[in-house]
Every structure is written in structure tokens, then in C-alpha cells.
């Protein structure tokens, strides 16, 4: 038996690492990877709660989160490619204009 709080703790640590990466990373792809890390931390909490309350809907929600994450990754990476094509850089400090 593993206490539920341990799972939540692990999810929280992963989420915090993702937030930190989002803040300190300067490469746009690394920032995007940090967002994926945050999503994974939340997914772990979902599964832990689903097991705690014997509610399988929690697992279905994780499934939907994964689908949305896949769609988000596709569009986000396409945007990154478009940004790189116009700016020739991946550093977010140098991407400071919405205009082309």
C-alpha cells in the first residue's frame, strides 16, 4: 500500500519542475518540453485519484488529456517551425514581435 499523498507529491514535483523549466529555459523547444512535463505530472494525479476512488472515468480523462496533448504538440511544433523560418532563431528573448 502506497499512500495517495506520495503519488500526489510525485505529480506535484513533476509539475513544479515543468513550471521551473518554463521559466528558466530560453530555447522555445525546451519550453515546450516543460509544458509536456507539466501535463504528465497532472496525469499522474488523475490516475492516482482514479485508483483511490475506484472511478475509471479518471483514466478516461487521462486518455483525453493525452489526445489533446498530441494535438497541442502538433500545432505548437508547427508554430515553432514557422517562427524559426521567419526569425532564424529559437531563443525566446529574440522573439519579441508578433508582426513578421
Amino acid at each position: 500500500m502506497v499512500p495517495l499523498s506520495y503519488y500526489l507529491l510525485l505529480g506535484g514535483i513533476l509539475f513544479a519542475c515543468g513550471v521551473t523549466g518554463f521559466l528558466i529555459k530560453r530555447n522555445i523547444i525546451s519550453i515546450f518540453l516543460s509544458i509536456e512535463l507539466m501535463l504528465n505530472g497532472v496525469n499522474l494525479s488523475f490516475v492516482a485519484f482514479a485508483a483511490q476512488w475506484h472511478a475509471l472515468s479518471g483514466q478516461v480523462f487521462v486518455f483525453f488529456v493525452m489526445v489533446v496533448a498530441a494535438a497541442e504538440a502538433t500545432v505548437g511544433l508547427a508554430i515553432i517551425i514557422a517562427v524559426f523560418r521567419t526569425r532564424e532563431t529559437l531563443n525566446v528573448d529574440q522573439v519579441n514581435l508578433l508582426k513578421l
Binding site: 500500500m1 530560453r26 525546451s30 490516475v47 489526445v67 500545432v75 528573448d93
Partner: protein, 172 residues
């Protein structure tokens, strides 16, 4: 035994997440994220979510991360350089994360009257998940198919090269 497995997978998870933060090259970050996702699949197995563990490995660690690695290699992303803004972010980001983690840990460990999770207590075979997915959650499921279709079209439009129309092809 279960606690040992949980701690082992959890240690791998946290090590991968910290490595993601420390690495300067995006490809190293991406590969450490693959490690995190693999270890999370182990955690899902411990919780009895077999279907999700398989989906985690196939979709997350497989498909999505391959997409990331493709883009990193396509754009020839190099080591990120530090600027003044990034140092300020480092100055505030790391203490912020530490404070946040300690706060979350404190709350969870002092108010942990949430009981315990029996390992494998929740049977999550694909059959039961499919029953839920195609009965109760049928509408969201179909909506996600539209979402994925829109995402595909958006990616093609965004990533396609805007350029002059090649000769021999007329604009319609």
C-alpha cells in the same frame, strides 16, 4: 515491495525531470523527458492502469517525442545561450519552484488523511475503458477526433512554406 517499486520509478522520474532542467541542449532535454514518461508508465502499471501505461509508452514516449526530436533535428537547434533576461528568470524561477514544492509537500504530508492506494486495486483493462469510452464518453471521444483533424490541418498550414507559386501551376 510496492513501495520499493514506487520509489524506484519515482526516483527515475524526478531524476529525469531535473536532468531536463539542467541540460542545455534541447535534444538531451527531450531524451530525458522520454525517460520520465517511461518511468511514469511504470507508475501507471503499479496503479493498475494497464491501458494507460501502454498508451503512455506508445503515444507519449513514442509518437509525440519522435515529433519533438524530428523538429529539434530539422531546425538544427543548438545549445541555448544565456542572456540577461534568462539570468533573472533563473534567479526567480529556481527559488519559486523550491518554495512551491515545499508548500505542496507540506500540505500533502500534513493533511494526508486521503487514505492509501492499493497497488493494482483498480482493474483498468482495455475492455472496461472501452465500455466507458464508447458509452458514457462517446460525445467527447468524437469531438476529440474533430480536434485532431483540425490540429493536423493547422499544422500543415502553419508549417508549409509560404512562397511563390511554382511555375506551371496556376492559382485557383
Amino acid at each position: 515491495m510496492h513501495l520499493i517499486l514506487f520509489l524506484g520509478f519515482g526516483a527515475v522520474c524526478v531524476a529525469g525531470a531535473v536532468n531536463l532542467l539542467v541540460q542545455r541542449h534541447p535534444i538531451n532535454s527531450a531524451l530525458s523527458l522520454v525517460v520520465v514518461m517511461g518511468a511514469l508508465a511504470g507508475e501507471y502499471l503499479l496503479l493498475g492502469a494497464e491501458f494507460l501505461a501502454a498508451v503512455q509508452v506508445i503515444v507519449y514516449a513514442g509518437a509525440i517525442m519522435v515529433l519533438f526530436v524530428f523538429v529539434i533535428m530539422l531546425l538544427n537547434a543548438g545549445v541555448e545561450e544565456r542572456t540577461k533576461g534568462s539570468r533573472i528568470a533563473l534567479l526567480f524561477g529556481v527559488p519559486g519552484m523550491l518554495i512551491g514544492s515545499v508548500l505542496v509537500a507540506w500540505v500533502l504530508l500534513t493533511h494526508s488523511n486521503t487514505g492509501e492506494v492499493a497497488v493494482g486495486a483498480l482493474p483498468g483493462p482495455p475492455k472496461v475503458i472501452a465500455q466507458l469510452l464508447f458509452h458514457e464518453f462517446l460525445l467527447p471521444f468524437e469531438v476529440t477526433s474533430v480536434l485532431v483533424l483540425i490540429a493536423i490541418m493547422g499544422a500543415v498550414v502553419l508549417a508549409s512554406k509560404p512562397g511563390p507559386i511554382p511555375p506551371g501551376k496556376k492559382e485557383e
